[in-house]
């Protein structure tokens, strides 16, 4: 794995906002193709900011980000990644199909190919029969599945997810976690996933990057050696609990270091 070119390379990134707040400092991470890396940390630790820097939606104050071997800026212009936000961010005036097809339209796909692709995506996120519904007619979980389908529709090698299940109830969230892993298996994409749920991070990831706040930095990276594919049983395995404990302790350690920083 280490022989391959990195999918995302974050080198010495820091971010100081206009007011002088240091959101991030000295971030170095390398993410390999096919990995599922979670960024976890207390609110205000800059994990969403880091994700946006990777997506070239925010510019870093220092350091650089390489995505698929090119600058983050170039990668954005080349539409190298798909993004999913905490809210589904669906356009109210577009049907489910048309929301999913949005990146395809913008990428200049013709109507026939778009139609085929949208059908595949609807199948992937199990929303067949809802193609002509409008967003307001869907539940929160269904909206988020549309948003995932939209992000995956143009087969980006990299998927950036900013607390995508944060607004969902626990039951829906666990189901969405399982679906996401299934989709990840099928598409073999690289995923960078921001969350503040320890269990979610451990269940989903191949590695968990634990962040601490003020200034935001990565305090520990914990490899998650749970066997694939992960199922409902994974959540009951002793190893799962050990890893949850390890992440929790790393988070607390980060919090204790905070006053000294």
């Amino acid at each position: 794995m280490s022989e391959q070119a990195a999918a995302v390379e974050i080198k010495g990134v820091s971010k100081v906002f206009k007011g002088g707040t240091t959101a991030l400092t000295g971030i170095d991470v390398e993410i390999h193709p096919g990995e599922f890396v979670s960024l976890i940390g207390p609110s205000g630790c800059g994990k969403s900011t880091l994700l946006r820097i990777v997506g070239d939606l925010i510019a870093p104050s220092e350091g650089q980000v390489v995505v698929n071997g090119k600058s983050a800026h170039r990668a954005r212009l080349d539409r190298d990644y798909g993004i999913v936000f905490q809210d589904a961010v669906l356009y109210d005036w577009r049907t489910v199909s048309k929301n999913i097809a949005l990146p395809l339209e913008m990428g200049g796909w013709d109507r026939r190919r778009r139609g085929e692709r949208v059908r595949e995506m609807l199948q992937l996120v199990e929303l067949e029969g809802f193609e002509s519904h409008y967003p307001w007619q869907l539940s929160g979980g269904m909206q988020q599945r549309v948003s995932i389908a939209r992000a995956l529709s143009f087969s980006p090698a990299l998927l950036l997810m900013d607390e995508p299940f944060g607004a969902l109830d626990e039951m829906t969230r666990e189901r969405m976690n399982a679906e996401l892993l299934r989709i990840w298996e099928e598409t073999r994409s690289t995923i960078v996933f921001v969350t503040h749920s320890i269990a979610e991070a451990v269940f989903l990831s191949t590695r968990v990057a634990v962040m601490s706040a003020r200034p935001g930095r990565i305090s520990t990276v914990i490899p998650i050696d749970l066997p694939q594919p992960r199922t409902a049983l994974t959540r009951e395995a002793p190893r799962f609990f050990e890893l949850v404990t390890a992440v929790r302790e790393a988070l607390h350690l980060g919090a204790e270091v905070e006053p000294a920083a």
Binding site: L57, R76, L77, D78, I83, D87, Y91
Partner: protein, 273 residues
């Protein structure tokens, strides 16, 4: 998939929609009828002078006998209102697009736009009459256009700039440029705001045209007829002309509301909860 409550796509038959409308409108219709009966009764019983308040039946009969003159005057004034509406609203939308695209320009100009909006525009009617000649439709269109301009400008600008940041981030993640963001996100987001202001503007345009006519205008114009018949103590004619103005104003408003419904078919039916 566990059962998730999903509302059906609102695509009721036309007949059912009309049926629902009838029950919706019934209370208002009853109030109208009762109001007219009360009006007639009060005027008859208290012997109210004709120039103070004519009976509804008198107004109705004038409305019928003078119908050709009234409707032709109404049509004349409506053209002025429509022209002013199109010019004023169209210009306002264009200006709003420019101000939303170049924000610093917006912050430099909006305070003056808002201040200018506080000026009683109607007071300019004699001036536009002087500019365009009172007999010309343009002078009334100018008043109507100015009245329409500000509400449409302010609302359109608010709509164009009230897009959620994540909606913009999504577009940027697809490498979209400013023009594409306007076309695909900002303008559709602004549509409800634009139509709300257009409905206001449609009413203002009628008011602007009629009031403009009070300061002088062609004898064919509704406002001129209202003013003249009132000064000749033909109050039934004045009232009938006001009814014509009301009907045209309401029709104008409903036409804009219909356009809104057609342009925003994605929205849930505005039925009661």
């Amino acid at each position: 998939m566990s059962s998730v409550a999903v509302q059906p796509v609102p695509r009721g038959g036309m007949a059912r929609m009309v049926g629902r409308r009838v029950t919706d409108w019934l209370p208002a219709a009853i109030v109208l009828v009762l109001g007219l009966v009360a009006w007639q009764g009060v005027v008859t019983v208290l012997h109210v002078q004709r120039f103070l308040l004519p009976k509804p039946t008198q107004i109705a009969s004038t409305f019928w006998t003078d119908r050709h003159a009234l409707w032709s005057a109404g049509w004349f004034t409506f053209q002025e209102a429509l022209g002013g509406f199109v010019i004023g609203s169209g210009l306002a939308i264009v200006v709003a697009l420019v101000l939303a695209r170049w924000r610093p320009l917006g912050s430099a100009l909006m305070p003056y736009a808002i201040a200018a909006n506080a000026v009683p525009i109607i007071a300019f009617a004699p001036i536009t009459n002087a500019w365009f000649s009172p007999l010309n439709k343009s002078s009334k269109m100018a008043i109507a256009a100015v009245l329409c301009f500000f509400p449409v400008l302010v609302n359109t600008l608010r709509g164009l700039t009230s897009v959620r940041p994540s909606s913009i981030e999504l577009m940027r993640s697809y490498a979209a440029g400013e023009l594409e963001i306007f076309r695909r996100v900002r303008i559709p987001t602004a549509l409800p705001y634009i139509f709300t202001s257009l409905k206001v503007a449609s009413v203002l345009a009628m008011i602007g045209a009629i009031v403009g006519e009070y300061f002088g205008g062609s004898i064919e114009a509704l406002g001129v007829q209202i003013k003249n018949s009132a000064s000749l103590f033909q109050f039934e004619v004045a009232w009938a002309a006001i009814v014509v103005a009301c009907i045209l104003g309401i029709a104008f408003y409903l036409a804009v509301a219909l356009a809104e419904r057609l342009a925003m078919r994605w929205q849930p039916a505005q039925g009661r909860e």
